[in-house]
Amino acid sequence: MLYDLIIIGGGPAGITAGIYAARKKLKTLLITKEWGGQITKANEIENWPGTKKISGIDLIKQMSAQLKQYEIEIEENKEVIDLNKKGDSFKIRDNDKEYETKAVIIATGKIPRTLNIPGEEKFKGKGVSFCATCDAPLFKDKTVAVIGGGNAGFNTALDLIKYAKKVYILEFLEEMRGDPILKEKLEQSGKVEFYTNIAVKEIKGKQFVEKLICEDRKTSEDKELEVDGVFIAVGMMAKVDFAEKLVELNQIGEIVIDKDNYTKTPGLFAAGDITDIKYEQIVIAAGEGAKAALAATDYLNKK
């Protein structure tokens, strides 16, 4: 079976592309590992036009429910592992099946940036977490470290002070970069200690996380910090291995697109945070998804 369009990604960009494509009566398949992606970590969204306040989980529930009302095929809990050209069309493989399509929209967003230090992978779910919204409640009365002194780190710490007994914020650079107003709230809790010029080198423990090995970048001295948990909040990164052959990537791994969401390969479009657009917001991702679907429609009509 040859699809008109396959959309990879079930966040705001992918879902909006799906709604537009279905309404244009394109034979469409949407493949997603999970619904929402980054948006599910947002506790309170107050800048989605038309809605005063909504949680990320609720917003994505509404979006996916709306999508499912249209004639569109959906493969959930599936991850795309290969994308290739096949003549004029494309072949896509997920961890289950293979599909063929005339056009593709990549809308896979971004994932948390990792530190790539020993212990980070080993202790995932055993004290290492990338999501305070999800896991903060599990560290009640415990001591935790947050790696990252930007807004991501500060927001993570704000979730943690509700439960943890003590929170260390460890920043690599000379200064904490997070908003002063958040820093104030953290200071007022009395539970937070701030350290700058810290490079975390290793996460250690037996079955669960027990301590961090940190280097003081000014003195080059190594220090041990006893913690029950460590939350990594050093930003987001683009990772789109399956498409690397067919797209141009910028220095930070984002897919380069033109203003109509075309990549360097005709018929292959991209939308949202995975692209090199400057600003990354939910409403922008949705808009980009719509643009990509409309561009794909025009592309298919010309063939």
Binding site: N77, G125, K126, D135, L138
Partner: protein, 76 residues
């Protein structure tokens, strides 16, 4: 007896519980952010700290592993 260990703001927990509701499966909904005993039980049984955890008549699954859950609940 089916028991689900979750926290309020965890996206996969929501997906899992919706999945069970859609298939009309009764389950005990345990909020480990409020029930410390249950949290300890969960950590003890799974040797890890992430949610959701589902206990299907003694068989424990960490995370929303749809295929395995369907298998154990004999769903198509």
């Amino acid at each position: 007896m089916i028991r689900v260990f979750s926290t309020p703001a965890c996206p996969y927990c929501v997906t899992l519980k919706n999945f069970l509701k859609e298939h009309n499966i009764q389950f005990e909904d345990i909020d480990v952010s409020k029930d410390e005993k249950a949290l300890n039980e969960m950590i003890e049984k799974t040797k890890q700290y992430s949610v959701p955890v589902i206990d299907i008549n003694g068989e424990i699954i960490v995370g929303f592993n749809q295929d395995r859950i369907k298998q154990l609940l004999k769903l198509t």
